[in-house]
């Protein structure tokens, strides 16, 4: 199975990541054309299987698939929060019977895309599973930093916010460290998982310490409704201590950029002006998300096993 799916950045080699980023450079060029479409995946079907609601990521995958001429079908099974594993796999098997060429899966529970990949013939792309991984988000973040800084190796990346619940943080920690960058995380202590430093990052409860000399400041979304009162005293206090504004950004390098996976709680994770203007690159992240997902879909979708590729050698083609 490995090699056919994109389940997490943890599974990738540095060369794999580089290959996706190199491919995405050319996919970004396609998106700048007047006709933003190439026939590469014509006749292929991509299914967006989203158990957890998502507008932005799903739209990004949908546009990416369509720019490559694939047929994209959105499939969002009713999302009661706790579905039995069997019914998820039943859904996956039902889909499989429709012969998709790629299935993009999002689920609120970690590990579901992997289980689905085990029963499907088609390649599976993880579009976010619980607090586990969100690999295409990390890839678009890597791509955006590479675009801004011209390199990844040797950079300092500060990730600020709810590290504990964040699949974006996990995927980015794997991604940036594999590409030779140094990653620091900053959050209120309850939001820092105890084992985080085993991933090769430096954890701190001081924003100033984490931002000191950073090339990139990445703020994570705070799920306010869920966290206030338990992990943090209040949203206001979080914003005062860990919300990034121009004054706190001064701890980082002069040319530091600001990133956020979106959607931003304005005035909480980022000040209003930082949400909209340089040095934040939030809309570039969104734009690059399409290019990176095109690259992933190109590299994974519709590759045929070798036996079928050589029809003369066997009776496998029907």
């Amino acid at each position: 199975m490995i090699g056919n799916d994109l389940l997490g950045i943890e599974d990738l080699e540095r060369e794999d990541i580089q290959r996706i980023l190199d491919t995405a450079v050319h996919m970004a060029e396609v998106s700048e054309r007047e006709v933003k479409k190439v026939p590469t995946l014509r006749g292929r079907t991509i299914v967006n299987l989203f158990f957890e609601s998502s507008t932005r990521t799903r739209a990004s995958f949908e546009i990416a698939g369509k720019r490559l001429s694939a047929d994209v079908v959105n499939f969002s099974p009713a999302t009661s929060s706790l579905k039995k594993a069997e019914s998820i796999l039943d859904t996956a098997r039902t889909l499989d019977a429709m012969d998709p060429d790629c299935v993009v899966v999002r689920h609120a529970v970690a590990g579901v895309p992997k289980r689905i990949a085990e029963v499907l013939d088609a390649p599976v792309v993880n579009a976010g599973d619980g607090a586990h991984e969100h690999p295409t988000q990390a890839l678009l973040d890597l791509f955006t930093v590479q675009q801004e800084k011209g390199r990844l190796d040797g950079l300092s990346i500060a990730i600020v916010g709810d590290i504990l619940h964040s699949r974006v943080a996990r995927s980015n920690i794997y991604g940036f460290t594999k590409m030779g960058a140094e990653v620091r995380v900053a959050a209120p202590p309850p939001m820092i998982p105890p084992s985080i430093e085993s991933l090769g990052v430096k954890a701190s409860s001081s924003l100033r310490e984490a931002l000191d000399g950073a090339d990139v400041v990445m703020a994570l979304r705070i799920q306010s409704e869920r966290l206030a009162g338990s992990y943090i005293p209040s949203i206001r206090e979080y914003a005062n201590t860990f919300g990034i504004d121009r004054a706190k950004l001064a701890y980082a390098k002069d040319d530091a950029i600001v990133m956020h996976p979106g959607p931003v709680n304005r005035g909480v994770e980022l000040s209003h002006d930082l949400t909209d203007d340089r040095p934040s690159v939030i809309l570039d992240q969104v734009r690059n998300g399409v290019a990176v997902r095109m690259a992933v879909l190109y590299l994974l979708t519709g590759r045929r096993p070798r036996a079928v590729a050589a029809p003369d050698e066997g009776g496998l083609v029907t």
């Binding site: 490995i2 090699g3 056919n4 599974d11 990738l12 080699e13 060369e15 794999d16 290959r19 996706i20 190199d22 491919t23 450079v25 050319h26 996919m27 060029e29 396609v30 054309r33 007047e34 006709v35 479409k37 190439v38 026939p39 590469t40 006749g43 490559l68 190109y298 590299l299 994974l300 519709g302 590759r303 045929r304 096993p305 070798r306 079928v308 590729a309």
Partner: protein, 209 residues
């Protein structure tokens, strides 16, 4: 022709020969197209790129009008993507001018089956509607699988289908020496150069099935 030392690569077109052919082709292009200002050279990477640049310089010398040079990757338009288990790497596309109503001259180093040219024409049409499309092929190997004809040929080269014909010097600087070499069946340029050591272990996305 001198034998190339490494692993049986045989030079069949030297730098001097290539440059003479490109000068002749520049004259032929002007003979055929009276208005040089309407020409647009579009190179198919990687091999077409240095050839198109040299052709553009030649045209400036002869007609005192240098055409724009575009680069058009054909990979996303290939007809074998569905049947291959590996995805070829993409290359640069840079189209600096509008294609509409221009005389587009596609430039490729080696033309064999014609499938790359078909892909290039499809890609080109997505950029606009040229008045005409013409084709420069530095080497014509024959073995055509599609009804595609080269308008301006550097050299006809009968080869067996399994041999590889490559333009060297194509990926380096613009002014490096060029040569066309023939590699025996089953041999890649890398293996000829590195004495047969095949590239490193396959990585996850690179090496399927």
């Amino acid at each position: 022709m001198p034998e190339n030392d490494a692993g049986g690569a045989r030079t069949i077109f030297t730098d001097t020969g290539i440059r003479r052919a490109l000068m002749r082709i520049a004259h032929e292009i002007l003979e055929r197209n009276e208005d040089p200002t309407n020409l647009y050279l579009v190179a198919i990477p990687n091999g077409g790129v240095p050839l198109a640049r040299q052709l553009a310089a030649n045209l400036r010398e002869i007609a005192s009008s240098e055409p724009e040079v575009g680069v058009l990757d054909t990979t996303l338009y290939r007809d074998d993507l569905a049947t291959r288990s590996e995805r070829p790497a993409l290359r640069e596309t840079v189209m600096p001018a509008e294609v509409d109503d221009r005389i587009v001259v596609l430039v490729d180093d080696v033309v064999k089956t014609g499938r790359t040219i078909r892909a290039a024409m499809d890609a080109l049409m997505d950029f606009g509607r040229p008045r005409a499309v013409q084709l420069v092929g530095l080497v014509d190997r024959g073995h055509r699988e599609l009804p595609i004809k080269i308008d301006f040929v550097g050299k006809n080269l009968p080869t067996s289908p399994g041999e590889h014909v490559r333009l060297l010097g194509a990926t380096g600087g613009a002014d490096g020496p060029l040569e066309i070499v023939v590699l025996p069946e089953g041999q890649s340029l890398e293996s000829a150069r590195q004495g047969g050591s095949e590239a490193k272990a396959r990585t996850m996305l690179g090496g399927a099935a």
